[in-house]
Assembly symmetry: C2
Homo-oligomer: 212 residues x 2
Amino acid sequence: MSPDSEPEPEPGTLRPGGRTARVRTAVLRAAGDVLAERGVDRLDLSDVARRAEVGKTTVYRRWGSVPALVADLLVDMAEQSLPREETGSLLGDLRAGALLVQRTLADPRRGALFRAVIAAATCDARTAAALRHFYEVQVTEWAPCVEQAVARGELPAGTDPSQVVRAVSAPLYYELLTTGTAPDAPAAERAALAARAAAVAGVYVHGQRLMG
Amino acid sequence: MSPDSEPEPEPGTLRPGGRTARVRTAVLRAAGDVLAERGVDRLDLSDVARRAEVGKTTVYRRWGSVPALVADLLVDMAEQSLPREETGSLLGDLRAGALLVQRTLADPRRGALFRAVIAAATCDARTAAALRHFYEVQVTEWAPCVEQAVARGELPAGTDPSQVVRAVSAPLYYELLTTGTAPDAPAAERAALAARAAAVAGVYVHGQRLMG
């Protein structure tokens, strides 16, 4: 049977663990490698097929374009992302989240991959939508740590969980993107402490009024 | 006299306000327009020369490559950046800084330009160095507002001015780069309030020890 002779389902919809899933895993792994090594400009479906040892026709038929492939990679990254830790305190939870982001951005392959995907999102709407979805998944995963902190009385009622979760990530991404240097563990600690301090002060309460 | 017949100095070193400066202004304006409209991948020196109504040879001889042109654009952006406001209070100063960043990123041309330059910096070392320098200039300009707040007793001694200044910008850039949406005025207000709350809590004190 030729590698391209079976009907092509939507990525990942058929027989998880079967050939469809194995092909997707190999192709997304190869796409991630190319992105991390060379950036989105050099991402080429034929090259990805060769690296993944998958028929070129399969890759073209199933993904069709570089933005579609990057979008599927982001879907996979969201699916693979680690569940949040529950430490029992807001600072412990925010610290765990900050360290997860910091380690991801400081990892040579994953840090380069995030820089490439964020760069790609600046000039392609489909990639931008997939990136936005990726972060929405992360925020949804981590939001309960803020809700629990409100319930425990650690944070004011009405605190917007997504604002707090995003406040933890923001300085780490900003450092990577504006200095080109991966954030270190003390930067993660500062990110967690800063997000907590701001949240405790009520900065992320919904409908927060301007205050002097 | 042909447009390319005079000796070519380093950009901007000769007769400010003269032909050299006028050529640089026109070329950088055109380069910024192309970057904002189409991104760095489509930036082409011949196209820039045509838009700037400057001889192609001049552009190639003076800048030589796209990364060199983008680096010079960032030097110019740093030179053109507005002086900081002094309001007499830390929150007032941070708010002014946050609104400056927010308005820049929400401006269609300048927001697109920053996204393009940040994307370009992810895959070119020269652009990355120029971008880093751009932000160092901004931090140097705004650091005194933190030093004055320490002197007034609004912030703990040993607070790192660059950490505070960068904390104001981080959530605004993070929003633009991960959601594709320009931050609004309430986001600027939250950024200023959050940076102040974290700074007041001592998060940005040099050599800050981990705390529970």
